[in-house]
């Protein structure tokens, strides 16, 4: 009942009442982002796609600032670390999961 009122009240009350009892001054909104993937592990290096791939982790070990180790999606909708996949296609231009011809659908940014 109350939440239904909520939406209708808003239209009614916004203009007539100049000062509400509670007004927003500042909001610090927090959100988390993650890659929009079906499987959260890279099938090539077995590391979560949210983490840098094994290679990148080894290279930037001493906290020298993690390079962006992004995710790539193929036409087949399977996703991997871009670093892992670019090495993979040198040997075999097929998706490691479904064996379809690999072509990039989009890259994470």
């Amino acid at each position: 009942m109350a939440d239904e009122d909520n939406s209708s009240d808003r239209v009614d009350n916004e203009t007539p009442k100049p000062e509400k009892m509670f007004t927003l001054k500042k909001w610090n909104a927090v959100a988390m982002w993650s890659w929009d993937v079906e499987c959260d592990t890279c099938a090539i290096c077995r590391v979560q796609v949210m983490d840098a791939c094994l290679r990148c982790q080894a290279e930037s070990k001493a906290g020298s600032g993690r390079q962006d180790c992004v995710v790539v999606w193929g036409e087949c909708n399977h996703s991997f670390h871009y670093c892992c996949m670019s090495l993979w296609v040198k040997q075999n231009n097929r998706c490691p999961l479904c064996q379809q011809e690999w072509s990039i659908q989009r890259m994470g940014k």
């Binding site: 009942m1 509400k20 001054k25 909001w27 909104a29 988390m32 993650s34 890659w35």
Partner: protein, 773 residues
Amino acid sequence: MLKQDKGQQHTFEDKWPSMRAIVLKLLQQEPVTQNEWQDLFYNVHSVCLWDEKGAVKVRDALTDDIMEFIKKAQVRVMSHQEDQALLKAYIAEWRKFFTQCNYLPTPFRQLETSLVGYKTPGFKTATEASIVRKLMLDSWNESIFSDIKQRLQDSAMKLVHAERAGEAFDSQLVIGVRESYVNLCSNPKDKLQIYRDNFEKAYMEATEAFYKMKAPQYLHANGVQNYMRYADSKLREEELRAHKYLESCSGSVQLLTECCVNVLVTAFKNTILAECAGMIKANETDKLQLMFKLMDRVPDGISPMLDDLVEHILQAGLDDMMASADVITQDSEKYVERLLQLFNQFSLLVKEAFSDDPRFLTARDKAYKQVVNDTQVFRLELPSKQNSGVKCQPESKCPELLANYCDMLLRKTPLSKKLTSDEIESKLRDVLLVLKYVQNKDVFMRYHKAHLTRRLILDTSADSEKEENMVEWLREVGMPADYVNKLARMFQDVKVSEDLNQQFKEQCRSTRGSIADSINIKILNAGAWARGSERVTVSLPMELEDYIPEVEDFYKKKHSGRKLQWYHHMSNGTITFANSVGRYDVDVTTFQMAVLFAWNQRSQDRISYENLRLATELPDPELRRTLWSLVAFPKIRRQVLLYGPEVQSPKDFDENTQFWVNQEFALVKNGKLQKRGKINLVGRLQLSTERSKEEDNESIVQLRILRVQEAIIKILKMRKKMSNAQLQTELVDILKNMFLPSKKMIKEQIEWLIEHKYMRRDEDDINTFIYMA
């Protein structure tokens, strides 16, 4: 002609009388002219060359003369009845004789060559195995020395005894006797044989006998503590004395020291050690130092002292904790400071009493570790298995409290404001010191990360440089790299997010003007921050809801392939609360905002719990908690919301409990109402929901199980085959920087791995495991 002439003159019979005169003079140390000295050389040479039997005859004659001389000397020495005089006389005679042992052989060099028979003339050197010298020394040894050596020795020992008893005397006498023993080296293979068999032996026996009698008397008369001082000073004294009277570089001194230690210390080991515990307790460092010095010389002397130290630390540490249990279980600052105080106290003891000897440091560490991880005072209940909630394995709460204390130092708190930067740094170092002794570091890591998350999200770090230093320090003390890296990533991520926030604001400024100032966004990497599924749904007030699509659109333009999840339980803000008394800026969580904004349309109404639940769509536990924070926020006089009927805890709200805005809400400062002001109602930002809190502890256990499995496989993969005991040791070694796996957990995981064919038991020996690929 020459031959005949020489033959006449160079026989032994011709020459000996003149030679003998000179020899006698030499023996008696009468002055010999240079001519006489040279004549002797010449005569020996010619007799040996020209008289076929000359060499033998010379030797025999020389022997007779030497013997005769020695006989006379013996008579002179023996004429003294009194020991000391006898010694003096003997030493005087010996000194004279020994000097001659170096001179007399020289003219007879030729004799040696003749007697030995030209075999290896080039090999002989003057002093080494000179026949004449040997002759002299042997004669001395056989006659005078063997007759009176017992008396000599006895007199010398009497003197040493007298010195021990405090009488002064001429130490040269004893030294002289010793020298005569040493130099009477008839056996070229062991030049010290005579010395060792006689003098050294006698000296040892005398020493031992002396202290065997004295030591128990002293101990009986003066007690253990004085006795230790006595023993120590005697040991030092005897060592000095040994250096004086015993032959150096013969090992005698060391032998004697051992002997003294035996009589003085080892014999009373248990009596002395019995005092140890009491002294440690009374912190009598000087006496302990002394005891340590004595016991360090005795085999197995130290280990009972180590046991006493461990016992004391445990006892004192736990007693102390128990005594102040009321305070320290509530107050992590007091607890950590108490722990540190104990640590410093024990360290000081080890330093002052035992000079930081590594064995005692190890004992201190061992005992302190037990104090830190003790579960008697307070415990953290961890479910031992995921599904059996009843069985709990208690653990020390120490890591949690350490993390809390860190938070107090790193956050803007009254404590951190009070301290200087250096003080904070040294206190953080202290925390790391204690952390070293904590067995379950994974618990610390979890709490530390949660606190860090709060500080970064609420921007409440006191000093961001110190925050990042802390991460490096954690790395230095050996916290697992993946954990430390994750913390470091959080810092980087916050910076990235800050840049994004600026860009967002600029864009807003150009399109929507002033709104830019009223919103900050933090869009964080879920991989670094998020912990499981803990998102909570909430129906946002319109004011906030409007922003959401805007932020999402902005983010989509910046990035692709990413999805956003709002973490409203972490977000927060400031609202202005205007009532009849005044206007107040209130810092609130988004949940609190959602609740309060429900009154914007009906400011005077009373709203039931049920209606608030419908309005906010918050899950029941979160709504209760949020409401409680608004009706009963600690330490403020007037609450924002009022409610009825009264209840004792948030659990007791029922769906008809009524809530209304406190129109008289005001800030009270020094008893006066304030018309304006700022107040923070965020409290401790809840990172996890009620439900996920339970999951939290479970996930610690779950993670431990995985770590144990992982480590077992890692070890077995390398070793292929190994015994149970060996596996356990290596396992603890690998995991010690995270937690101490219990025997039970290890056993369960081994069973699991066997069941799943990762490994198997050896057919011949069930305590041996074999890796299966």
